[in-house]
């Protein structure tokens, strides 16, 4: 267990370090495209706890990403706060809105919940577009300050890449830990059967609310980081329902029951567009065409996976039927197999 943990994380950290060099020098794709994947990882890893583990399908994850981003951007530009303050503020506001939204919405079950979160996603997106004096309307907010640590300004694509992916790794670590804790077990119990979960003394509603707030807080943090550590500007289109669907696709593709599955899904879905773009430039298509093809493709991928492999690529359920593990556990406890 411990050995596999060290191996896995050595692999993760190693690949995060070398990935930009492979991309830039071998594949000749810019580091900026990897930046986006880092945010995708944060979003999908936080969403998998809510959707995969607790079984509460939210289609409004992008809204909280947006709330984090806009709050941080507004605080930084209008109040002139440093990003080191505006990022926590954005995260907190996301958490608060998560509490206010989650409390009524989580009383709903299955697709009523999905529908409600979908509507919230659309409403927040429309708000970003409409509240011109605050959010800059369709144009959004630009000239966002970079993060400064003392004299060090995180400005170059590579520096931004490392900042974002370090945060992503930390979030993977936290979510993985949570998923293996008794709290994670309770989430899966709720997913299996809410009434039976009540019967083992689980406060189902409170547990759902906690994981909802946790999940959207991470999304808001990712958003706040996105505002200061990506392209220097944000616009409403980046936080539309399309993003929520994209993140759901990552979760489904990678594996509904595993944090590492969500990471896999995010990496695949995050890097796929780059490959398509490369193919597109071969076929001499213009950029808007490519974007539309991408969005259509996500839908197709989602449907294919839901039909043929609803548990995703990395399904934890296979891991758990490990025979040697069983023997090991029984021998440790000194219980002979009957």
């Amino acid at each position: 267990m411990k050995k596999s943990f060290i191996l896995r994380w050595t692999f993760f950290i190693g690949s995060v370090i070398v990935l930009p060099f492979i991309f830039e020098h071998i594949l000749s794709i810019s580091v900026e495209s990897l930046l986006q994947t880092g945010f995708f990882i944060m979003l999908s890893v936080s969403l998998v706890l809510l959707v995969g583990f607790a079984g509460q399908i939210s289609l409004g994850h992008a809204a909280f990403f947006g709330v984090g981003a806009y709050t941080a951007a507004i605080v930084a530009t209008k109040l002139g706060l440093s990003p080191l303050l505006s990022i926590p503020v954005g995260t907190m506001v996301g958490a608060l809105i998560g509490l206010f939204v989650g409390y009524p919405v989580l009383k709903l079950k299955s697709f009523y919940l999905s529908l409600a979160t979908l509507v919230i996603g659309i409403a927040v997106y429309e708000f970003f577009k409409a509240a011109d004096p605050l959010t800059g309307g369709e144009i959004g907010i630009y000239d966002l300050p970079n993060i400064r640590l003392g004299n060090l300004e995180i400005a170059s694509p590579l520096a931004r890449y490392y900042t974002v992916w370090t945060c992503a790794l930390f979030i993977i670590f936290l979510c993985d830990r949570l998923s293996h804790s008794p709290f994670g077990q309770r989430l899966r119990a709720i997913h299996s059967d809410e009434q039976a979960a009540e019967c083992v003394g689980i406060d189902v509603f409170k547990t759902k609310l906690k994981i909802f707030i946790f999940s959207v807080t991470i999304a808001a943090f990712a958003g706040a980081l996105f505002a200061h550590c990506s392209y220097g500007s944000i616009e409403p289109g980046e936080f539309s329902v399309t993003l929520s669907i994209k993140v759901i696709t990552m979760v489904v593709v990678g594996g509904m029951y595993s944090v590492y599955g969500a990471v896999t899904g995010a990496v695949i879905i995050g890097l796929l567009p780059e490959i398509i773009r490369n193919l597109g430039s071969f076929a001499a298509m213009d950029l808007t065409q490519i974007t539309h093809i991408q969005d259509a493709l996500f839908g197709v991928i989602l449907v294919i996976f839901i039909i043929f492999s609803p548990e995703g690529i990395l399904s934890q359920r296979k891991e758990r039927t490990d025979v040697t593990g069983k023997k090991c556990l029984l021998s440790i406890r000194g219980i002979e197999s009957p």
């Binding site: 936290l174 830990r177 949570l178 804790s181 008794p182 709290f183 994670g184 077990q185 309770r186 899966r188 119990a189 997913h191 299996s192 059967d193 009434q195 039976a196 979960a197 009540e198 019967c199 083992v200 003394g201 689980i202 406060d203 189902v204 906690k210 994981i211 946790f214 029951y257 359920r317 758990r320 039927t321 490990d322 593990g325 069983k326 556990l329 029984l330 406890r333 219980i335 197999s337 009957p338």
Partner: protein, 255 residues
């Protein structure tokens, strides 16, 4: 231990329970029987907090629990099982039991994220306890399998392991032998006796009369939402009203 006072329940125009009053004393093993639709499971649902009665009260150890949510009733020491098992299919066998162990609930979201040395001790303790219960019902060989890969009989045993992991003072079993074969039923009887011998009060719905005769000290009979009689198994066996409830009156049979 458990008092049900004049409880009625209504679904639309249908009166499912009609002023049912009964009592289960500390350390007793009481059977609840009655033909289909008599309201047995509804009564369990009311006691365990899934339904609220239109009238009447439920008391547990002298404390009113009528309008408490199910998880609080469970924490007060009243635990139920379900007729259709309802194990957690997204968890392994041992995890099914682990989530039920009260100490594991001490580890919330925050402690899950940032465990302390104490958290680790608790988790170790929980694992050991869970294995003990899994062993008690004879499932240690499949402890790490997915719960949904078990046979129906094994799932039923797991349901019972999960229930006793909650350290109940009173256990409500809803038709534990339904769908089991003879051999499995016998094994189940033994387990129920074992649990009872440890001082757990048991209230059990059962259709298998021979099993109930063997287990129960007292039997309560419901029919069409009313308690028609109660008494020792021998008495119930002879009771005319019970035979009528199950098979109808003699006259009707002849027609």
């Amino acid at each position: 231990m458990l008092q049900v006072k004049s409880v009625s329940c209504q679904f639309g125009g249908l009166k499912v329970l009609n002023r049912v009053t009964l009592e289960v004393n500390q350390g007793e093993l009481v059977g609840l029987m009655g033909p289909n639709g008599a309201g047995k499971t509804t009564l369990f649902n009311i006691i365990s907090g899934f339904l609220t009665p239109v009238e009447g009260e439920i008391y547990l150890k002298g404390e009113r629990i009528t309008y408490l949510p199910p998880h609080l009733i469970t924490r007060k020491g009243l635990v139920r099982t379900f007729q259709n098992v309802r194990i957690f299919k997204h968890l392994s066998v041992i995890e099914n039991v682990e989530v039920a162990i009260p100490q594991s609930h001490e580890i919330g979201l925050l402690r899950g994220l940032f465990p302390t040395p104490k958290t680790k001790t608790i988790r170790q303790l929980v694992k050991e306890k869970a294995l003990e219960y899994v062993h008690l019902v004879g499932l240690s060989q499949v402890a790490l399998r997915n719960a949904d890969s078990l046979t129906f009989g094994q799932q039923r045993l797991l349901g019972i392991a999960r229930a006793i992991a909650l350290a109940p003072e009173i256990l409500l079993l809803d038709e534990p032998s339904a769908g089991l074969n003879r051999k499995e039923t016998e094994a189940l009887s033994e387990i129920i006796k074992k649990i009872h011998s440890k001082g757990v009060t048991i209230f059990i719905i059962e259709h298998d009369i021979s099993m109930l005769m063997d287990l129960a000290q007292r039997i309560i009979v419901l029919d069409r939402g009313k308690k028609i009689t109660e008494g020792s198994p021998e008495k119930i066996k002879e009771e005319k009203t019970v035979i009528e409830a199950y098979f109808g009156e003699r006259r009707k049979c002849l027609v």
